[in-house]
Subunit: 117 residues, 2 copies
C-alpha cells in the first residue's frame, strides 16, 4: 500500500496528450458529487491561485471560472490526486446550487436501471 | 429547478465526438470517490448487463472489466446522470481496494496546497 501521506505538486500532474484531465467536485460537507468537468494546466493554476474551481470548457473552448455567471462559486478546500496522477477530486464548499438548472448537484437524475442480481 | 425524479435511458447519454464520457465511482456507503475512469457505449452496456463497473481503458485501448485482474469488482447500485447527459456517477459497493496500489481509493494523496483566504 502506497504511503497515504505523500503530497504532490502541480508538476506531478499528467495532463496527457489532450492536455485535459477530469476533475470531480465533491461537497466537502456531504460528500455529494456536484460536478464533473475538465481541467487544463491553466485552469488548475487559476484554481490554486484563487481557491475557486476553474475548469476548461470543452464546448466553449475557453477557461471557465465556475460561478462567474451564476455567482455560485465552488470554494476549494483540498485537492486529491489519483494513483496515475491524471484525475483530481476537489473537496469544495459551494456558494449555491452547483448546477445551471438550479439543482444542488448536476447529478439529479438516475438511469432507469437497477442491478439484476 | 428540473424534476429530480426524471429518469433516463442509455439512449439519452451523449458520448460526444470521442465516444467517451467520464464516470466517477463513489462508495455507496461512505461517499468516498474511489476511481475516475472513462466509458464508451459498450462499457456502459456491459455495466448495465452485469451490474459490475466496466470502463474503457484509454492507455490499453480496450474494454476494461474493473476487478478482472485483482478480483476487486465494483458492484454498481445506481447510476446518476448529469444535466448535460455527458458524465456519470456510479454508486458502488467495492469487493476490496479499488486502487491497484492496494489503497481503498485511487485518491489517497493530496496536492500540497491549501486555500489562501
Amino acid at each position: 500500500m502506497t504511503d497515504a501521506h505523500q503530497t504532490l505538486t502541480v508538476a506531478d500532474i499528467d495532463f496527457g496528450s489532450d492536455n485535459l484531465i477530469p476533475a470531480v467536485s465533491q461537497d466537502a460537507e456531504t460528500g455529494e458529487v456536484l460536478v464533473i468537468a475538465f481541467m487544463n494546466p491553466m485552469s488548475l493554476q487559476k484554481t490554486l491561485e484563487t481557491g475557486d474551481a476553474w475548469f476548461w470548457s470543452r464546448s466553449r473552448r475557453e477557461l471557465w471560472h465556475k460561478g462567474a455567471t451564476s455567482g455560485n462559486y465552488l470554494r476549494v478546500q483540498s485537492i486529491s490526486v489519483n494513483c496515475e496522477e491524471n484525475s483530481l477530486v476537489l473537496k469544495v464548499n459551494p456558494d449555491g446550487p452547483a448546477c445551471h438548472t438550479g439543482n444542488r448537484s448536476c447529478f439529479y437524475r438516475e438511469l432507469d436501471w437497477r442491478p439484476n442480481r
